[in-house]
Amino acid sequence: MLCDVCKKQDASVYLTQIVDGKMQKVNLCESCSKEKGVSDPTGFALADLLLGLGAAQQIESGQPLQRCPVCGFTQADFKKTGRLGCSSCYDTFSEGLADLLKGMHKGVRHTGKVPSHLSRRFAMADRVKSLDAELQKAVKAEKYEDAARLRDEIRDIEHELQT
């Protein structure tokens, strides 16, 4: 079996790890395992290696020849560098990235800090959503006065969101 990194020498180090119930296997030759710092498999950071190998393989399983419309980045580039091209790549390659992120992090949703101007925007967007639900209810119940008031309120927030 050939080494997954250099694809030249025979693999002599076999790593198997369970990440999120999925088995990940990596086979390395002597020199690549040293280079990646796999002298003690238990103390070795799996994400670093997964990023270099598994990551590139996973993103590949998306559609072939996908290209980021903003920066022109492709999956082949990701495979080569392990880095993305620009912030829009996260949308372009979202399908392939989802699994990768899941294996790498504690969760798949950001729960931390939000830039203050955006946190206001996000709050407003949430408010529009809930007002919209109320509006649908009001229409169903034929409370047209309420519906008109809700419609105006939504229009005001959407106007503010656009500016």
Partner: protein, 372 residues
């Protein structure tokens, strides 16, 4: 402030005066930020990098903590100057390899340094002595809040801050503490600690971060994941683990004193002997022996002032710092080892011989025993 001023004074963090300063050398917070819909530095061409740098730099320099800062475009720094900044932990090794289109801005107190166009458009780092992760985060967060109103950050409602490498996405936060663990190394417990820390999603690395060797019994403990946990949760978890590591290290030191005092004294005596008589010494050996000397000072075997001498030598015996002190073009490794030995001998000469009585009094217990 000029680059020479930065070089002239070592960072304040070096004089480990912070909380738990005997074991935790320094605390560092790094935040990664990028501009929306602009190519990341690794994918951008030189013209794009120069444009992005020009756009960001004025705002970075306007950060309140950056008043009177030292700023340098990377192509204007010599390889030696870059290496000194790496040895001071003010820029990363990756950043030192950059040229035109990248820059670094360092606050006058060295606590905040911002790398522009490293792997991400912005890498903001705060560095404080001792265990002060919360304080370091507060410092960095203030700079981040200042910039977020002025620079169009790449932020995703679901994924948070977007970064060049998917391993940093979310908070973009890497919190790390540099810990000095000679007790755990001498008592062969260090691998156990490294493994168990790894199992809970934190990482232990060497002196200069990713992919570097642990020298001088110094280790960096940091978070691995950046997505799915808030900044507070990441910090809280890391601090708890570091407090446990401190306790293990204290226990290990106490046990060595009680059960293997002769081995411990032998190590300290040998370190003192070699450092005060060597005529040629490599960087690696120096760091490892200085670590043992530092342990001796922690245990009271050397006077308290020894701490400062050792901490300073940790930095001044590094290759670029040695080179800086001489006029000669480029020192050969042999010259460097001889020069290093001269420097170390001169400093260690001022330290009195190990005071063995201190160990016997510690052995009989002075109420500081950490044994459970």
């Amino acid at each position: 402030m000029t680059f020479d001023d930065i070089i002239a004074v070592p960072g304040q963090w070096l004089h480990g005066e912070g909380p738990h300063g005997k074991i935790v050398v320094s605390s560092r917070i790094r935040l990664a930020r990028n501009l929306r819909e602009r190519p990341f530095p690794g994918w951008a061409n030189k013209v794009e990098r120069m444009q992005i740098l020009a756009e960001i730099q004025e705002h970075v320099e306007a950060i309140p903590a950056m008043q009177g800062s030292c700023r340098a475009p990377l192509q204007e720094l010599s390889p030696l100057q870059k290496q000194i900044l790496v040895e001071r932990h003010l820029i990363s090794r990756e950043h030192a390899s950059k040229g035109a289109g990248s820059a670094v801005v360092i606050s006058p107190d060295h606590q905040l340094s911002i790398m522009i166009n490293e792997e991400d458009h912005l890498r903001m780092q705060s560095l404080l002595p001792g265990l002060q992760l919360q304080e370091a985060y507060r410092l960095n967060n203030e700079a981040d809040i200042f910039l977020e109103d002025r620079v169009p950050y790449a932020f995703h409602a679901e994924l948070g801050y977007l970064t060049a490498c998917p391993t940093n996405v979310g908070t973009g936060l890497r919190a790390s503490a540099m810990v000095h663990l000679p007790g755990l190394v001498l008592s062969d417990q260090i691998n156990q600690i490294v493994n168990s820390v790894g199992k809970i999603g934190l990482v232990v690395r060497g002196l200069y971060g990713e992919g570097t060797e642990a020298l001088g019994n110094l280790f960096q403990v940091s978070n691995q994941a950046t997505l799915g946990e808030s900044e507070e949760e990441i910090l809280h978890r890391l601090i708890k683990v570091i407090e446990q590591i401190i306790e293990h290290e204290q226990n290990a030191r106490q046990l060595l004193l009680e059960r293997r005092a002769n081995m411990l004294l032998d190590q300290i005596g040998r370190a003192y002997g070699v450092l005060s008589h060597a005529r040629a010494i490599a960087s690696k050996e120096t760091l490892n022996l200085l670590s043992i000397l530092k342990l001796g000072a922690d245990l009271g075997i050397f006077p308290e002032a020894t701490q400062l001498v050792v901490d300073e030598l940790f930095m001044t015996t590094q290759p670029a710092h040695l080179q800086m002190g001489v006029k000669q073009e480029k020192l050969s490794p042999e010259d460097r080892d001889a020069l290093r030995a001269d420097l170390v001998r001169a400093k260690v000469k001022g330290i009195p011989e190990p005071d063995i009585a201190k160990v016997s009094s510690a052995k009989s217990g002075d109420g500081k025993s950490q044994e459970p």
